[in-house]
C-alpha cells in the first residue's frame, strides 16, 4: 500500500522564539529546524503500517525552500522510501498547502495520506481536513490508534472527554494525535541508506495552481508577560478579590 506523508518544517520546540521588531515574522537566525512533531508521528505510523503489511511504499513530501531537504533526508533515514520537495520561497496559507498536496495525491495515487493534526508553529489544524474535502475522501482526525484490514481502516480518535472509533473505506486522510506512537530515531545505517534514496525537487509553479494567499498575517506579537503572583491573607480576602478584581465569581 502506498502511503503519502506530507510534513512541515518547524522550529525545534525547545528553541526560544523571538519575534522580529516589525512583527512580520520570527527571527530565524540560530533557530534549529525539525520535522513538525505531529508529522513525525505520521511518518512513524506510515512506517509501522508498511512493516505490518510487509509491503508498500512510504512517500514523503514537503512544501518549502531547497534547504528543507535536510528534514526530508531525516524522514528517509527513519525509513521512508522516497521524497518530494515542492519548492517555493513564498509563505502559503493552509488552503493553498492543501491544494498542493491534493495535486501530489493526484499524481501519486496513495491509498492513505497521514499527516499531523496541526503544525506546532501556527497550530492551524486545517490542512488535513481541507485536503480530505478537496479529494472527497473520508477523514479521521486526532488519531490515537489506526488499524488497516484489507481496504478498510479503523481509527480511534481523541475527542473531548473520550475516544471515538470510526471505520471507513480507503483511500482516506488521517491526522495524528500525540499518543498514536513514539517515533523512532534515524539509525546510523538508516542515515547512510538515505543518501541513495530518491529526493525530487519540483518547482511549485509547475503545478499550475493559483498561489495567491487568501489569508495574510498582519502582525505577530509575543503573548503578554505573566504578572508575578500575590499572597493573600485570608480566604475572605481571596474571595473578595476574585469577585471584585478578577471578576471571576
Amino acid at each position: 500500500m502506498k502511503i503519502l506523508v506530507p510534513f512541515k518544517r518547524v522550529p525545534d520546540p525547545a528553541t526560544t522564539i523571538r519575534i522580529l521588531p516589525d512583527g512580520s515574522g520570527i527571527a530565524t537566525d540560530n533557530v534549529k529546524w525539525v520535522i513538525n512533531p505531529f508529522d513525525e508521528i505520521a511518518i512513524e505510523e506510515a512506517l509501522r503500517i508498511k512493516e505490518r503489511l510487509k509491503t508498500g511504499e512510504v512517500v514523503l513530501m514537503t512544501i518549502g525552500q531547497s534547504n528543507w531537504q535536510e528534514q526530508l533526508r531525516t524522514g528517509l533515514a527513519m525509513g521512508a522510501d522516497r521524497a518530494k520537495l515542492i519548492v517555493t520561497d513564498k509563505p502559503l496559507d493552509t488552503l493553498t498547502i492543501a491544494r498542493v498536496i491534493a495535486k501530489v495525491v493526484a499524481e501519486e495515487q496513495p491509498r492513505l495520506v497521514i499527516l499531523g493534526k496541526q503544525a506546532i508553529d501556527d497550530d492551524s489544524n486545517q490542512v488535513g481536513q481541507m485536503l480530505a474535502e478537496i479529494l472527497g475522501w473520508p477523514q479521521a482526525t486526532f488519531a490515537s490508534k489506526l488499524e488497516i484490514e484489507g481496504d478498510r481502516c479503523t481509527v480511534v480518535r481523541e475527542v473531548d472527554g473520550g475516544l471515538e472509533t470510526v471505520a471507513f473505506p480507503l483511500p482516506a486522510v488521517v491526522t495524528t494525535d500525540l499518543r498514536l506512537n513514539e517515533p523512532r530515531y534515524a539509525s546510523l545505517p538508516g542515515i547512510m541508506k538515505a543518501r541513495k534514496k530518491e529526493l525530487k525537487e519540483i518547482p511549485i509553479e509547475s503545478l499550475g495552481l493559483d498561489l495567491t494567499p487568501k489569508l495574510r498575517v498582519k502582525e505577530l506579537k509575543a503573548p503578554p508577560k505573566r504578572q508575578a503572583g500575590r499572597k493573600v491573607g485570608s480566604v475572605q480576602e481571596l474571595v473578595k478579590l476574585l469577585h471584585e478584581e478578577a471578576k471571576l465569581i
Binding site: 525547545a14 530515531y185 542515515i191
Partner: protein
Amino acid sequence: MAQILEDLDYFSLDDLLTSEERMTRETVKQFVEREVLPEIETHFAAETFPLQLIPRMAELGFFGANMKGYGCAGMNNVAYGLIMQELEAGDSGLRSFASVQSALSMYAIYAFGSEEQKRRYLPQMAQGKLIGCFGLTEPDHGSDPAGMETRARRDGNGWVLNGTKRWITNGTIAGVAVVWARVDEGIAGFLVEKDKPGFTSRNINGKFSMRASITSELTFEDVRLTDSDRLPEARGLRAALACLTQARYGIAWGAIGAARSCYRTALEYVKSRKQFSRPLAGYQLVQNKLVTMLTEITKAQMVCLRLAHLKDQGKMRQEQVSFAKRNNVGWALEIARMARDMLGANGIVNEYPVIRHMLNLETVNTYEGTFDVHTLILGRDLTGLSAFD
C-alpha cells in the same frame, strides 16, 4: 531537549557539518535524552553498567560506526566523533563502553586481523551480540606498556599464555578479549575467547570514578591458543598504540560532551541562584568562570573538527591526537571542577550531573595515556628528546 544536551556553538561550527553529521548527532542526543539520562544516576550509585542499552546502541549503529563493511555503518570521522561527544554528555562510562567496543576491540581486529577473524567477530560485535575488551595495562605496567610481563610461549603449533591484565573495561562481560603479550619477536596481539580454560576475570569494585562502567582484572593461567587466535598483522607494540590512537581520538570528542553538560548545568544554576543582592551570574568572578568554560569548550570543538577532517583525509598524526586528548580532557576536568564549585553544596549531590562527570573525568584524564604522558609525547615531538626515561 534536556538542557544539558543543547548544543554549544559560539562560532557557528555547525555550518561546517554536513546534514548527515548533524542528523547523526541528533540521533545520539535523542537516545541519550530518552534512554540514558533517566537511569544513569541509579547505575552510577549502584556501580553497575546499563546492559540493556547495548542492543539499542547496536541497533542504532553506534558500534564500529566509522568502519566499512562487516555490518558497520561506514560513517566518516566527524560523525563518529559526534557520537562519542553525545554519549559522553550522557556519561563517560557509556562512551567508554562504545570506545572499547569500537575503537579498541573492533579496530584491533579490523586493522590487524585476518579476513577469517574479521568475518567471525566484527558483524557480531557491530550487532552488540559479542562484547570485546582490550587488555594492555597490567598491575605493574600502565604508562609503560613496553614493560609488560604477560607472555605467550610457543608450544608446538600453538601458544601458551600467562599473565595478568588490570583495569580492563568490560572485562567480565566480554566474549572476546584482545590481549597483548610478549613473544620472542617482541609484542603480539591475541584474541582470547571467554570460555578458554585458564582464562578468568573478576570486577574491580570500590571505584569513585566510572562507576557506571565495568572495570576488571583478567588472569591467564596456561591458556592454550592456536595461530588462528593471533592477530596476524599486529607486529610489535605499534599495533596496540594504533588502537589507542583511535580511542584517544574519540575521547577528545567525548570530553567536549561532558564539559558541555557541566557548563550548561552551571550556567542555568547561576542564573537562577541568588546570593547577596542578585543572581550569582551577575558577579564578575562567576562570569569569569563561565567565559573560561565557553572559551575552552569552543577551542576544543575546533581542534576536534579539524582533527576529524585530517583523519578523514588520512593526514592525522598521532601527536595531534595526543594534543587533542590532553587538552580537551584536561580542560573538561577543569571545567567540571569549576561547575562543581559554582553549584555550591548542590554541586556534591546527584540531583545534578556535575559531580558524576567530574569524578568520571578523573579516569578519562588517566586512561589512554595520562595528561602528563601526552605532555611527554608532545615534548618529544617538539624537541626530538625523549623525557620518558
